[in-house]
């Protein structure tokens, strides 16, 4: 009886020892050498795995950053979620300097609210923007504007976008938006763009992407850019260009003077987060200048 137990213990013990030895040798022989900095950088990154940097996850970016550091440059690699703060820490860790990028934010370039852009049809299919976009122009006559099904809302991992039930349009929360670009990719109509956040979140942009000619665009939506070119002429910095019947403001050149906002006949150019205009003295002179 005791013999049996003893034999069992010895046999199992020997197998255990042999297996341990084999495992130990294998782990030494086939060890994968990984740069310890990759793990450190991964730890520093926020761990959202959102893909906003262009890599599959935080690990991918960390890998690229370390490789970049070895090659001598980490320009163009940035974590949109962590922003300057996290990238500063990463740069310290790798002994590199980072270029100061401007913080960006997602901007919805459509102002076709239920009032300004009336419905001409009813859609009964699958309620996603991608499906509706594949079916046709959607429920309104504008073939470029927001479809309002919220594919961008579903794509946002940070809860920064929500559909305003009154306007039927998505709104971005500047505080929560990390400019990862997931919504930009999700929007089948390329309405959302990453733009410079601007000082105190002050921005000027054309809130329309309709490429139809003026009268057609106007018929579909009262807030449409009609491509008249007034803003292009007005801009002192050459930041505005009109192409394919729609105006675009280059945010790298725009100095937020807002002259374009004043001349836009359809109020398609939006200036956000600016203080309310001072009441009397300035307004009439501006108008007079315009008339002149």
């Amino acid at each position: 009886m005791t013999d049996g137990i003893l034999i069992a213990v010895i046999v199992l013990g020997t197998i255990g020892l042999v297996a341990a030895l084999v495992l130990y040798l294998c782990s030494k022989r086939f060890a994968v050498v990984e740069d310890p900095r990759i793990a450190q950088v991964t730890e520093t990154l926020p761990g959202a795995n959102c893909g906003g940097c262009g890599f599959a996850g935080c690990g991918g970016l960390a890998d690229a950053l370390v490789k970049g550091a070895d090659a001598g440059s980490i320009d163009g690699l940035a974590c949109p979620v962590g922003g300057q703060e996290v990238m500063g820490k990463v740069a310290d860790l790798l002994g590199m300097a980072i270029a100061n990028g401007d913080p960006m934010v997602a901007v919805v370039r459509c102002n076709g609210t239920c009032v300004l852009r009336p419905k001409i049809a009813e859609y009964h299919g699958l309620r996603t923007c991608a499906a509706m976009n594949a079916c046709g122009a959607g429920e309104t006559a504008c073939g470029f504007g927001c479809l309002g099904c919220g594919d961008c809302v579903a794509a946002c991992q940070f809860g920064a976008i929500s559909i305003n039930p009154e306007t039927g349009l998505p709104e971005v929360d500047d505080e929560k938006c990390v400019a990862c670009g997931a919504c930009v990719k999700a929007c089948p109509r390329n309405i959302i763009e990453l733009r410079k956040k601007g000082p105190k979140s002050r921005r000027v942009f054309v809130s329309c992407v309709n490429k139809d000619k003026g009268p057609v665009a106007m018929k579909a939506c009262k807030a449409a850019c009609i491509g008249c070119g007034k803003c292009e002429k007005e801009c002192p910095f050459g930041a505005i260009s009109v192409e394919n019947n729609v105006s675009y403001i280059d945010f790298t050149k725009c100095r937020l003077c807002r002259k374009c906002v004043a001349v836009c006949p359809t109020k398609a150019i939006h200036a956000v987060n600016f203080p309310a205009p001072k009441p009397k003295p300035e307004e009439p002179t501006k108008e007079k200048e315009e008339q002149a």
Binding site: I120, A121, H124, G125, A131, G136
Partner: protein, 457 residues
Amino acid sequence: MKFNARTFSIGGIHPEENKLTHEVATQVAALPKQAIFPLGQHIGAPAKPVVQKGDKVKVGTMIAEANGFVSAPIYSSVSGTVLKIDTAIDATGYRKPAIIINVEGDEWEERIDRSDKLETVAAHPELTPEEIVERIKSAGVVGMGGACFPTFIKLTPPPTAKAECVIINAVECEPYITADYRLMMEHADEILVGLELLMKAAKVTKGYIGIETNKPAAIELLTRKCAEVFGTSAYQVSVVPLKQRYPQGGEKQLVDAVIGRQVPAPPAIPVNVGAIVQNVGTAFAVYEAVMKHKPLFERYTTVTGKRLQNPSNFLVRMGTPMKELIDACGGMPEGDHKLLAGGPMMGKALTSVDVPICKGTNSVTIISDDEAVRKEPQPCIRCAKCVGACPMGLEPYLLAKLAAVQNWERSEQEDVVSCIECGSCQFTCPAHRPLLDHIRLGKATVMGIIRGRAEKK
């Protein structure tokens, strides 16, 4: 009449027919005041305009030329002045480049033979297979069943495949539509000459005409005519009666039903199993293009709907806005309706009645009341009815789910690109799930991924 009818081997459904216009003789539609010609009326590259604003055109004048190999020229269906080259809403629902012509009178190009005289192939020995293909190509003939694939390409198969027979698709399995049926009843002789031209061009001697048994008069008429025309010739042509089953008009289903061969998954096409499938409307267009020098600018179209006052079949000039045809049928009924370019199964919902009739518009269908509204989707109950109904042997519930969660890799493995978008799955789903909406998105995305991969190589 009893037929020994065949059908395809897997899946399929049988929706209510609603062929309201079966016995309504075709009328010639009035000329429009303004005709709109979208440049992208076919599969492939949109045509390139060859006219300018202010140019005078006649009926049959080329207004846009083929732009690339897979493309087709477009001919004016009216005489008048080119108003502008602009954008217009087409059947996709979007504004696309189009030529807009103001109609003045009705002056035809002189080369077009407008007589009713039936020309036979025997009387024209100068027509070599190459000559036939060339005439079809230059006349802008495309598949008239709705897919609009340039016909001449089908007639010149790749060197890896060998054509054995031409199958004429006269199935018209889509509910409501009767344009092909009327064409068969009114122009059977021309269709058979068209078939002979197609067989000569494809260098085959076997021909089949597949017709569903809900059109007994057409089966009888064409069987009789076939015996008269081909009885003593070297061609073997037979009319094949087919059981009513949707989507029998799909190329692959038709090949299966008629000659019992299965077309493999894409990129295989019917000619890989020896069959060239052409719509009956295409056969007629081929006859007119080759024998009458008449380019493709007219077609048979059904305008139908239960609430429409006078549903009718029209011989209509392309470019005519749908509104004019609907008005000719008694006008758009009161209230909200669903307007479709095509039938209720495969048709494309439109938001404007100004969309013109194009090469592929086989019908304008107006669906009303409850039929126009989808029922509220319920959770999937795993009944697998969609699997049984799929004529391509796919698993629609799975493809829909994979597309919903954006698993493109697995979608590709599950062969989403084989989907012919017939809608049988959604039709049969007791939980009213939007299966096809998801699958279509998945198919489009996966095809994009495959194209991207091919371009990289």
